[in-house]
């Protein structure tokens, strides 16, 4: 080859390396081009790039290097080498020449991605890209570090990796902020799980899937103070006091995950306050916190990071919300079934005020019907939770009603139009309770009027 006078310009003309790259799917996009593309499009390109880069670096470029080394290793170096070669090994000048451009083009795309705007949906692809480049750095070093010309390629690749790492950290912060500031405009109907909750928990699950890389990259705990500037009268959420026993849960990454949930809960409080009905607010919190706890329990990685202690706190929170819901929604109704205020002191009658009793029954019926009408449209998505809640309601309602009926029904049945007051049997109530939290209004034929 030397005899043919190819000089010092390398065995493969640039076009050959170029077309090899093109065949691998490496495009020539400017930074401006990349900024303009939609993220979904970029995701696909990143996937392709990762595959292409591996093949390019480990295949094309590595073999170019070997070839150059073989060819030029034995060439006598003439005295004019000093002025012609790039500073550094003259073996590598022709190689670096031929492929520097190709390498620049290859890494140019990754660089453009690394300087893009940081938004939460980018996190996982950016991690993928980061990992791919980190993986390739040793190969890049082998191929390029030998010459001064090629060294800049390695430096650039390392810079890109570093910038991607920064981007990961930045995106995580951005995500946490976005969760905190998610606006609360209209309450989600039926008090069901808010889309934000689903999104955040799915995101958190993915974060735990990417635990390996993320625990290397995330090295500091969330900076709570700088992020949470209370606006107006809100109090800022604070990091919970936890006894972090799990080794995993001591990672900064774990602190971030807990913080994400704390911030989510804080946001959910604002969303809960949008409901006019306080009982619905509590139901909403119950649903959402239960979902959070459920997702944590379901994912071993997530659970390992968040830790059982915080999980316990979450469980406690949704149970508390359930209790508050019951108290708020049912106290008034259950109060209709109290003894107090029904007995008339003294006198020689049986001691029960019939008019008061009639009022009680009417009040109970109205309140119950209202609750039934309204709360059937409320929704508890989790089947088990729904059942538990109904059972809990029934456990309070039915015995109270049964006992009330038992004590006082004959007073009504001895009077006029008992059916106006005793509208429901215990069984009727039991059936009606199954309508609650279905997320749709009860159909007419389910309502039954019992005559005793």
């Amino acid at each position: 080859m030397a005899a043919a006078g190819y000089g010092r310009e390398g065995p493969a003309p640039k076009p050959a390396v170029d077309s090899a790259l093109r065949r691998l799917g490496v495009e020539k996009l400017s930074i401006g081009d990349v900024q303009r593309l939609e993220w979904e499009v970029l995701e696909a390109k990143i996937r392709r790039w990762i595959r292409a880069a591996r093949a390019a670096v480990r295949g094309v470029l590595a073999s170019e290097r070997r070839l150059c080394f073989l060819i030029f290793h034995d060439l006598p170096l003439s005295s004019s080498t000093n002025t012609t070669a790039a500073a550094g090994s003259s073996h590598d000048a022709p190689f670096a020449e031929a492929v520097k451009g190709a390498a620049l083009q290859l890494f140019g795309f990754a660089e453009a991605i690394s300087i893009g705007r940081r938004s939460p949906e980018k996190l996982f692809k950016i991690i993928d890209l980061h990992d791919a480049i980190a993986d390739l750095l040793p190969d890049v070093s082998d191929i390029f570090a030998a010459s001064k010309a090629g060294e800049s390629i390695y430096v650039q690749a390392a810079e890109i990796r570093s910038r991607l790492a920064d981007a990961v950290r930045g995106i995580l912060s951005e995500f946490e902020n976005a969760v905190l500031r998610d606006p609360s405009k209209t309450p989600v109907p039926g008090g069901t799980i808010h889309p934000l909750t689903r999104y955040v928990m799915n995101y958190s699950s993915l974060i735990s899937d990417y635990k390996t890389t993320l625990s290397e990259l995330i090295v500091s705990r969330p900076s709570a103070c700088s992020r949470i500037a209370p606006e107006g009268n809100e109090t800022a959420p604070s990091f919970p006091d936890l006894d972090l026993a799990d080794p995993d849960s001591q990672l900064p990454l774990a602190a971030h995950l807990i913080w994400i949930i704390v911030v989510l809960e804080h946001n959910l409080e604002s969303k809960a306050s949008l409901y006019k009905d306080a009982a619905l607010s509590h139901l909403f919190i119950m649903n959402n916190v239960h979902y959070i706890a459920h997702k944590v329990k379901d994912s071993p990685e997530l659970r390992g990071l968040i830790g059982d202690e915080y999980l316990k706190q979450l469980t406690g929170k949704f149970r508390l919300a359930a209790t508050r819901y019951q108290r708020t929604a049912w106290l008034k109704i259950l109060n209709c079934l109290r003894d107090e205020g029904l007995h008339v002191s003294g006198g020689f009658s049986s001691g029960v005020s019939k008019s008061a009793l009639r009022e009680r029954f009417k009040a109970f019926n109205a309140a119950f019907e209202e609750a039934h009408r309204v709360q059937s449209a409320w929704y508890v998505p989790d089947t088990q939770l729904r059942e538990e809640l109904r059972i809990s309601i029934a456990e309070k309602l039915l015995p109270a009603y049964r006992s009330f009926l038992g004590r006082f029904r004959h007073h009504i049945e001895n009077g006029r139009h008992p059916e106006l007051y005793i509208k429901y049997s215990v069984e009727d109530l039991e059936t009606s309770v199954t309508d609650f939290f279905e997320g749709c209004p009860p159909s007419l034929h389910n309502r039954r009027r019992s005559h005793g």
Partner: protein, 413 residues
């Protein structure tokens, strides 16, 4: 699109630059209220930019040399740092600022692509240098001693031929896109020769602009296009400059007060970004290089307005000079390459062997100059390339910081 037709560009440019409005726009910081400390900082920023520019202008001999261009970039980076300090130091949560910053960021992204293209351009110059070096080494005495020996042998025919070949290659490589077309389609010409599409007319040519037999039917792709790695075939430095500087309007008084004066700092920084980008495009070869873009009427109240206009004028003047009009780049060293190369070709034209002593001396002297140009390029190219890369990094970092700044809670809406 014609790239380096600087002559027509110059006229339209010259007129726009000179149409400075005697401003009815209030100065960046209003006088009628007590200057707050942020006003003072912003003022200092404007003035410092002006000072740096004046410094650069005072060095008129060295204008557009590699060293001068590095100082230009140094000055830019200093201003960028000060801009950051001012921006993040002055408490402002005002709406117009966000919009202005986003606009600035758009321009900054354009500058990033430009940096990449410029890096390619510098690499191209490096390639030219290699050819020069080949020519120089062909003519060098066999020892590495550069000093003139009394009894050095006469240059031989083989040496002259090798030198001329290298310089011819260089000449072809340096042709701008008017002629290159499909002829000079690949960089490594020694390979192109084998299956050659090269017209043989080039072999004789020290006619720098001899047209090739082949048409530019491929869409007038310049050899730069085939050479550039970082940008696509349709990328254009002209368009990029227009994007960086286009529509940059002087901030309204209302915006200035609403942003605590920061609006004028953002304007200044964007203008500086444009000026530096423009100067770099003027100096360094790049794809579709055109200098038509300009800043619309900068008010004289900005202390840097005068120096900026002077800088534009000086560079434009340079671009209009007879022997620079068709150059691929106004870098002083590029001129030196062209000059030395031409000089040597002329000196060795129709040489008869054995060489007359006079001729031999003439050629050797020209060769010496060649070596000097090679040296200065060798010393200067790498640092400049590093500076361009540094500009890239700092612009990226600033952009990230500003994006971060914009997403902080108190800035929301």
């Amino acid at each position: 699109m014609p790239a380096t037709d600087s002559s027509s560009a110059a006229t339209s440019l010259g007129r726009s630059f000179l149409s400075l409005r005697r401003d009815h726009i209030p100065p960046p910081s209003s006088d009628h209220r007590a200057a707050s400390s942020s006003d003072l900082e912003i003022d200092a920023f404007h003035r410092h930019a002006a000072d740096l520019l004046l410094d650069l202008l005072s060095d008129s001999d060295d204008l557009l040399s590699l060293a001068w261009t590095r100082r230009l970039l140094d000055s830019f980076l200093i201003c960028l740092d000060e801009f950051r300090a001012v921006l993040f130091g002055v408490a402002a949560a005002h709406q117009p600022l966000d919009r202005l910053l986003l606009d600035f960021l758009d321009r900054a992204v354009k500058a990033l692509d430009l940096c990449n293209a410029l890096r390619d351009g510098l690499d191209l110059v490096r390639q030219w240098r290699k050819h020069l070096a080949i020519a120089a080494s062909a003519l060098a005495p066999s020892s590495s001693d550069h000093h003139h020996h009394q009894h050095a042998p006469l240059l031989g025919e083989g040496q002259i031929r090798r030198a001329r070949k290298a310089l011819t290659d260089l000449t072809i490589l340096m042709l701008d896109d008017k002629d290159a077309g499909g002829v000079v389609g690949q960089r490594n010409r020694s390979f192109g020769r084998a299956g050659s599409r090269d017209s043989h007319s080039h072999a004789h040519g020290h006619h720098r602009r001899s047209s090739s037999g082949g048409s530019s039917g491929s869409g007038s792709a310049s050899h730069l296009r085939s050479l550039s790695w970082s940008v696509s075939r349709t990328w254009s430095a002209t368009r990029q400059l227009q994007a960086i500087g286009g529509g940059l309007t002087v901030p309204r008084a209302h915006d200035i007060t609403a942003t605590g004066g920061l609006a004028s700092a953002v304007y200044t920084m964007a203008a500086l970004l444009f000026v530096v980008s423009w100067a770099l495009v003027a100096a360094i070869p790049c794809q579709d290089r055109g200098l038509q873009a300009h800043l619309t009427a900068v008010p004289r109240s900005f202390p840097w307005a005068g120096p900026v206009m002077t800088l534009f004028d000086r560079i434009l003047d340079e671009s209009k000079k007879k022997d620079r009009k068709h150059s691929c780049g106004l870098l002083k060293e590029i001129h030196q390459i062209e000059r030395c190369s031409r000089q040597l070709m002329e000196a060795t034209d129709a040489a008869e062997f054995p060489l007359a002593e006079e001729k031999d001396a003439e050629v050797k002297e020209a060769a010496l100059e060649l070596v000097q140009v090679c040296e200065s390029l060798k010393d200067g190219l790498d640092p400049l390339e590093r500076q361009v890369r540094e500009m890239f990094h700092r612009v990226v970092r600033t952009r990230t910081e500003i994006l971060d700044y914009l997403s902080r809670p108190h800035n929301a809406g």
